[in-house]
Symmetry: C2
Subunit: 193 residues, 2 copies
DNA sequence: GTCTATAACGGGATAGAC
DNA sequence: GTCTATCCCGTTATAGAC
């Protein structure tokens, strides 16, 4: 059922995870997706078009795996949901690796690419607000600005630890511990107002 | 008294800040440095050689500006020194911008380049230990593992906020506030043991 | 929608003179 | 140590057939 476009974007995530944004060759992507380069340009216009759509693709995918619910299981408490949304981004599975790698690459590229910059800023905002909302469910009385700051710190921390993990300087278990502790600390801070 | 090599590395920092690692063209670097491309290859062997030496260069430079002391001024308290080491990385000056941009780019590149990876891991470790030592001066009784964790979180947070700042998604004043609060929180946590 | 073929270009790296 | 000249490869993007 996967459309041609989807098939190409799935391949793009894999290739970016393997070679990075700067190492993405349209020809290699074509081979990975099992299509021709011409078709890729037909669907995505140019190299930047590929990257923008890949960003959208990995965002949707992350949304899916961080908010997945076992049907029939106990519904999660706000605190559990919070932990899940953050810690599920630190798993050593192909899907998460691909997503994190691509996200990091696109984030880095955005510093020099105004087009990506806008898309990235929008996606980041959505993510921060999602985390802020979960923090707000745990501490309903905390002021919105405080929630936003905490969410910005937690998401930023997660981004940086992901990159250190992906560049081999940090074990994933340790990264998870560091995030867990950070959540703990931010919640304690919010409770103390 | 800047040697030719230094002159080239200074130019490299400027070019990377302008175009990124992926946008660094040896020819543009040559022009920026006022030398020929041949000379660059003579001194640094290849593209990767340029990047490795640039990493070393920006590390030395950061060491200088984050630990600078006004001669004749009051010596800083450990807490002040800590704030300074972290917050001086969030200034909108050409030097800091260049350093932060290059650091972020090299960090991102390291995910796909084993050579850079090693250099980066080493440099990161030194930085984390420096921050851990400062935290230890504020809280001499805190266990080393706790200090290390706090330092990892603070340096990681700083990296991520720098990138968000450089990609235009975050005002620098706000980034500074977020880091200050994080220092506060981490110190409170260390004091509670 | 999809492919093949190729135009067009950019940029890393080296040879060799000075 | 430094420069000029250039080789040569890889890559993006498009044209045109099916």
């Amino acid at each position: 059922m996967a459309s041609r476009s989807t098939q190409i974007l799935e391949a793009a995530a894999r290739v970016i995870a393997r070679r990075g944004v700067r190492g993405l060759r349209v020809e290699e992507l074509a081979e990975e997706a099992g299509v021709s380069t011409g078709l890729i340009y037909y669907h995505f216009k140019d190299r930047t078009g590929i990257l923008r759509h890949t960003l959208e693709f990995i965002n949707d995918r992350a949304e899916r795996y961080t908010t997945a619910q076992d049907p029939g299981a106990e519904p999660l408490s706000p605190r559990e949901e919070l932990d899940q949304v953050l810690l599920l981004e630190l798993q050593d599975t192909p899907e998460v690796r691909e997503n994190s790698t691509a996200w990091g690459e696109l984030r880095a590229s955005a510093v020099f690419d105004p087009v990506l910059r806008e898309d990235l800023a929008r996606a980041t905002l959505v993510w921060v607000q999602e985390v802020a909302a979960l923090l707000g469910q745990v501490h309903p009385l905390a002021p919105a600005a405080r929630l936003a700051s905490a969410a910005e710190r937690l998401t930023a921390l997660l981004e940086a630890l992901s990159m250190r993990w992906l560049s081999g300087g940090l074990a994933i278990d340790h990264a998870r511990t560091l995030v867990s502790e950070a959540v703990e600390v931010e919640l304690a801070l919010l409770g103390r107002l």
